[in-house]
């Protein structure tokens, strides 16, 4: 139990007024070095912490304190950790997932919002937040006629501040790019890193698949779309550096699989890969035990693991240690390292979510595309 809660509840019973005072005097969850205490106040038969931390029970009960309406759960949490959660409140057999009303920190994703637990020492990096001193790039919409998909695809294009047609730029293609903008503040991150000269000014194509479970799972048509539809369309309209070191693919989860798969199909085109929490499912023996949508992923990753080859110049990989995919990512790392590719792998005390991916972007992008900050003082 947290020190604050222990001292508060040491009297043996909890009057509603003293609970009110306690609630006003503290910020929740109660974070201390090495642990965190979740607190819920309300009438319920049962309250559970629902988190998505691999290795821990995804559902842990909070304890009611002295028959009051105050519930608490203390758990170990290494410093600098971050994970997302909800409370499951049970009343008369009805179960409801709710946000932690006492915690104002929320993270959003395509399915809604979660409360965020920030462990001791975690601070949102400044470079992920809007900096009024950083010049803003622009994000516009573009239509790409895809022969591969036999349809027109809507994409978004980030152009850096001070974009000039007389210059040439590296190109980054980002899977789930609209989500990267909404949930990982990618445009703000790009503005800040470019302003700080930590990465060069670059053009970023943000793609969003209408059916990512089909297209991001080792789909040849998707790889063809990137290489034969999207890249030529952008090259025709915008000044790009014409070498593979200046072209990168980015993706998280299945987006990382799609990036790796496209690079494997077109190794001469894409030199830089930024792979976050890649869903690199594989089986060493027999059938895998994941959802059938992973069948093509497993086939692709198994094939690649059995006959690996150089498919990029540099690969930055990251994965949260609180996600089950850490096993797959750690397993793929030595495969890449044994080849003639530069590989940087970063593990984070975080889980499978957009803020984890956001927080790793500085390290990944600046390592793949180092900016001129050491020599340039503007």
């Amino acid at each position: 139990m947290s020190r604050a809660l222990k001292s508060f509840s040491s009297g043996g019973s909890l009057a509603p007024e003293s609970i009110d005072r306690f609630m006003q005097q503290n910020r929740f969850p109660l974070v201390e070095p090495g642990r965190v205490t979740f607190v819920f106040r309300g009438q319920a038969d049962e309250v559970l912490l629902r988190s998505w931390i691999s290795g821990l029970n995804t559902s842990q009960p909070l304890e009611r304190l002295f028959e009051s309406d105050l519930w608490a759960l203390t758990m170990e949490l290494p410093d600098m950790s971050r994970f997302e959660y909800k409370f499951e409140v049970v009343n008369s057999g009805q179960r409801q997932l709710v946000l932690d009303e006492l915690n104002p920190v929320l993270a959003h994703d395509p399915y809604g919002a979660n409360s965020v637990c920030q462990g001791f020492g975690y601070k949102r990096p400044r470079w992920t937040m809007h900096d009024p001193g950083a010049r803003s790039g622009s994000v516009s919409s573009l239509k790409v006629d895809s022969r591969s998909f036999q349809q027109v695809r809507d994409i978004k294009l980030y152009l850096p501040a001070r974009f000039r047609r007389s210059r040439t730029y590296p190109l980054l293609i980002v899977h789930d790019g609209f989500d990267y903008l909404r949930f990982a503040d990618l445009n703000i991150v790009l503005d800040n890193l470019i302003e700080r000269l930590e990465i060069p000014a670059m053009i970023v194509a943000l793609i969003q698949s209408p059916d990512r479970l089909a297209e991001y799972t080792g789909n040849v048509g998707h790889a063809r779309f990137l290489a034969e539809d999207l890249l030529p369309a952008i090259s025709a309209k915008f000044p790009l550096l014409d070498d593979r070191k200046s072209r990168g693919l980015v993706g998280a989860s299945l987006g990382a699989v799609a990036s790796l798969h496209a690079a494997s199909r077109y190794p001469a085109l894409f030199g830089q890969l930024l792979l976050q929490s890649g869903s690199f499912a594989f089986s060493d023996l027999g059938h895998h035990n994941r959802d059938p949508i992973f069948d093509p992923v497993v086939r692709f990753v198994n094939d690649y693991r059995s006959e690996p080859y150089k498919l990029a110049e540099k690969i930055y990989m990251s994965c949260g240690i609180y996600e089950s995919l850490i096993y797959e990512n750690r397993s793929l790392l030595p495969v890449f390292q044994d080849l003639d590719m530069e590989v940087l792998f970063e593990e984070a005390r975080d889980a499978h979510n957009w803020e984890n991916w956001r927080d790793r972007l500085r390290q990944g992008l600046s390592w793949l595309f180092p900016g001129p900050l050491w020599m340039v003082y503007e």
């Binding site: 001193g133 210059r167 600046s366 390592w367 180092p370 020599m375 003082y377």
Partner: protein, 309 residues
């Protein structure tokens, strides 16, 4: 009579106009924006900020043209740059342990004479290494100049003459920031140092860095980790005893007081002078006569107001 005004970065708010007004320029103003490299010709923002017509010397573009037409000069230049890069690599090998030893001694607590003497000795070793490095760089530059004198390079010679004449005929020179090595290389290539020393100069960021006696690269908050401050080159030596440090608020780790103290003491008696957005330092005959939003790193590693004389 020499006059230089050193400014911080010109974004988000420019104080170039204020600097120009304080000089009361009468006559043409030229600019050197070679540090912008490929973007050298993009002068719209500079012109509108300055509020006057500015003619750029186009040093970056002209150098590229010379290199195309007089490849022997290009080869010589390339050879020099390769030597400088290799020398820098070797310098870093020596710098790292020397700096680490000095850091470790600075971290030691206590006030014994023994410790103080060892700290001083460690800093002296650092200074000696930096001095040695600048001497070796200067020798490479001298060798380059000797070999260049033997070349038949009419286009370069003509351009040197034309550009020197332009500078001689101007009322003031603006030197913008950008890539600090490219900037000083181009100024040297066209032999403008002596002429620049005779003109009022307003320089910002990398432009301010090249005016000093040595160019110090630094960044405590680089994404791939902290790097050791290092001497890149001798500067033009027009501004004495000041080491301009642009973007100091974001690039320096002010919380690491020992590190900052070592920075300051390593380059003393030169003043390590942060230049951030809005900073302005005016030097008349190398005396600071005006300073606004300007400071220096004290020998204790804290930010101290820069006093005017």
């Amino acid at each position: 009579m020499s006059l230089q005004i050193l400014l911080g970065p010109q974004s988000p708010v420019s104080n170039l106009r204020e600097a120009l007004d304080s000089v009361s320029v009468k006559g043409p103003v030229v600019s050197i924006t070679a540090g912008w490299r490929d973007s050298e010709a993009e002068l719209d923002e500079l012109q509108s900020t300055a509020g006057i017509n500015v003619e750029d010397l186009n040093l970056y573009r002209l150098a590229e043209e010379i290199f195309l037409h007089e490849p022997e000069l290009h080869a010589l230049q390339r050879q020099r740059q390769d030597k400088l890069a290799e020398l820098q690599r070797l310098y870093r090998i020596r710098l790292e342990p020397t700096l680490a030893a000095a850091h470790n001694l600075m971290r030691e607590t206590g006030s014994s004479d023994l410790l103080r003497l060892e700290q001083r000795a460690a800093i002296s070793q650092l200074r000696a290494l930096d001095r040695h490095h600048v001497r070796r760089i200067s020798a490479i530059h001298e060798d380059f100049n000797l070999q260049r004198a033997r070349l038949k390079i009419p286009m370069a010679s003509e351009l040197v003459y034309t550009l020197q004449k332009k500078v001689a005929g101007c009322a003031a020179v603006l030197i913008a920031g950008g890539h600090v090595a490219v900037l000083i290389n181009r100024i040297r290539l066209f032999r403008l140092t002596r002429m620049l020393g005779q003109k009022p100069i307003i320089a910002w960021s990398a432009g301010a860095m090249v005016l000093g006696e040595q160019i110090v690269l630094f960044h405590d908050d680089a994404p791939q980790g902290q790097r050791n401050p290092e001497v890149l080159d001798a500067g033009l030596g027009i501004v004495k005893k000041i080491i301009p440090l642009p973007h100091a608020q974001t690039r320096l780790d002010w919380s690491a007081r020992n590190r900052m103290a070592l920075f300051s003491r390593r380059f003393a008696p030169a003043k390590c002078t942060p230049l951030d957005n809005g900073s302005m330092i005016r030097l008349d005959n190398n005396r600071i006569t005006y300073a606004s939003k300007a400071s220096l790193i004290s020998r204790d590693g804290i930010e101290q107001r820069l006093e005017t004389l």
